[in-house]
Structures are given as C-alpha cells and as structure tokens.
C-alpha cells in the first residue's frame, strides 16, 4: 500500500451501489429493416451477395466487409430458413452463474445457400444427442404475433 494510512477496522470499508441502467432501442438498420420486415410476413430468410467476391452474407448487409463495396438491391436473395448445425454447446448457467432451470442447446447454424451462420437454440429433451451435422429449420411465431426481431424465431427444430 502506497498510502500513509490504511483501514484497520474491517467494518469501515464501504461500498456504494449504483448502476448504468438505460433502455435501448436498436433500429434494425437498412439491411436489418429489410430482413426483419421480410420475416414478419414470410417463413424464409434473406441474404445478400457481394457482386465482386460472390460471398453470400447472412445476416444480410448493405456492404461487403472484405471488398468494401455497396451491395445493390438487386443482389438480395431469398433463402429457406434452414441450415446445418456446425457447432453446439449446452449452456447450463445464467449471467449470474446460477443454474438454468433447463439447460439450453445453443448452436451455430450454417444457413443453407449462404456463407453465413446464425446462433440458434434447439428445442430438445435429449441433451446427450450429437447435434453436429443435423439439419434444422427455424420455427417462427404465428404471423400475427411477429414484431420484426430475432425473437420471432422461437427455436430451431430438427428436420427428419
């Protein structure tokens, strides 16, 4: 300790409680707005294709981050809301480190016909299963309840 005095009574150190609470409203952005408006009405996804490097971006963007070109409206494509599970993990704790009531299978899904992936939760009771390589599809909320966020996808389920 580099000071001339220290606290010696263990009851004297104090703490001050506070927060940085605020609410956030994230606009979807130009690409996101088009995507989320699409999934309100459809059970499919949208992706964008870079005209130069031909990479298909999912989630869609208005620019290619590698070539740094703007992606024109003509290069948007509709794709099925399906994919292959590339990786998965079984999450058992919440942000406080407390056990979740039910573990969740979080997976990284390679969306069909694109070079992109999406995080998703697989609904299953069998946690011992090998999820890698299985095909899954998105299960959406009923159309009248969709709001245009990722929450419109309830979970992913295995396609037999």
């Amino acid at each position: 300790m580099t000071f001339f005095e220290k606290q010696t009574d263990p009851t004297t150190p104090m703490h001050w409680y506070g927060n940085m609470q605020a609410d956030y409203l994230y606009l979807s952005g130009v690409a996101g707005d088009k995507f989320f408006k699409h999934i309100i009405k459809n059970d499919t996804f949208l992706a964008t294709k870079c005209p130069k490097c031909n990479k298909t971006f999912f989630p869609p963007r208005i620019y290619c981050e590698d070539c740094f070109l703007e992606i024109p409206h003509s290069d948007w494509i509709e794709i099925p809301a399906k994919g292959k599970v590339e990786l998965f993990t079984i999450a058992t704790v919440d942000t406080y480190g407390i056990k979740l009531e039910k573990p969740k299978v979080v997976c990284m899904i390679n969306i069909d016909e694109t070079d992109g992936t999406l995080l998703g939760i697989i609904k299953t009771d069998d946690l011992e299963e090998e999820f890698r390589g299985i095909h899954v599809e998105a299960v959406f909320k009923s159309k009248n309840k969709r709001e245009g966020t990722l929450k419109d996808i309830l979970y992913f389920k295995k396609i037999e």
């Binding site: 104090m14 609410d23 606009l27 979807s28 989320f36």
Partner: protein, 178 residues
Amino acid sequence: MLKETQSYPKYAPGTYVSNKDIINKNITYTWWEPEVQYSWSLGPAYSRFLQELKEGRIIGRTCKKCNRVLIPPRMFCEYCYRPTDDWIYLKDTGTIETYSISYLDPNAQRIKDPILIGVISIDGASPQHGIMHYFGEMKPNEIFIGMKVKAIWKPKKERTGSITDIKYFIPIKGGEKI
C-alpha cells in the same frame, strides 16, 4: 430520403427516422434492457467522508507539500503525486462559486419549480475547493455568486452516510454568526 448532392464532394447519405415511425412501427427495432449494476469499493477517503457526513460533519484531507486542504477528500494529491497527510474537519458553511436554476429534472423532463444547484467552496478548505449541492429556502432571483451559505442537515435518524445527508445549503443572513 437521400440527400441530393449540393456541392463537391458528394456527402454520404443517411435515413431519418422520426418518433412517429417508431410508434407506428413503420420501422423494425430490437428492444434490450441490460442489467448493469455496480458496487464500487469506496476506499479509505470516501468511506471516512461518508461516515463523517452521517455524524453531521464535513471532513477533508490535507497535503503538506502544496499546503492544500482537499474536499472531497482523497488519499493522494493529484498535483504533488504523493499520499495526502492528515484528516481535517471543515466548517459546514461556504461560498457559492457558481450556480444554475434548473427547469429540468434528471430525466430531462420539464418542471415548474426550479431546482437550485451549484458549487459551494467549503470554509476551511483551500480556495475554490468545494462540492456540488442543492440550495434551498431562497428564491431563484435571490441567488448570486459569492453568496455565503450554510448546510442544513437532515435529522440524525434519517442520515445514511451519503452526500444527501445534507438537505441543501441556505443563505446566511447578514449579521448571523457562522
């Protein structure tokens, strides 16, 4: 919605979204409420400062090298870059260094009865060393820079060890003993 080019160079666009667009859901958005809470350790200086406030006293710290009396107290002197030396009790009176008459509440909502707020240099501390606090028992048109003020403390039972243990500062009338 793109802005037409007005002069060289061609400026980048942007798409304006109004509050109405959001309320009418013309635009999609994602809502998120993070959970960000803290319990800062206060260390010796602030711990003692708050404990003394609970007792109805204001305490400062001295630096022998630059001969300053510091309020709020701290364990080190930022000018000399050395530990500070001693605790010293200060008076609960002072002078208004600057002030504002606020018609805004903390959430930027408008209010009718303004909040009087300012910086008070505390008597006994070095010149212009003070704290921010409220003023009370005076009208907005009475306040001025240089006014002598004194602290009004909350009743002892209500004090919790916080800067709000001082209710506010009120003017010292002419002739009144400090």
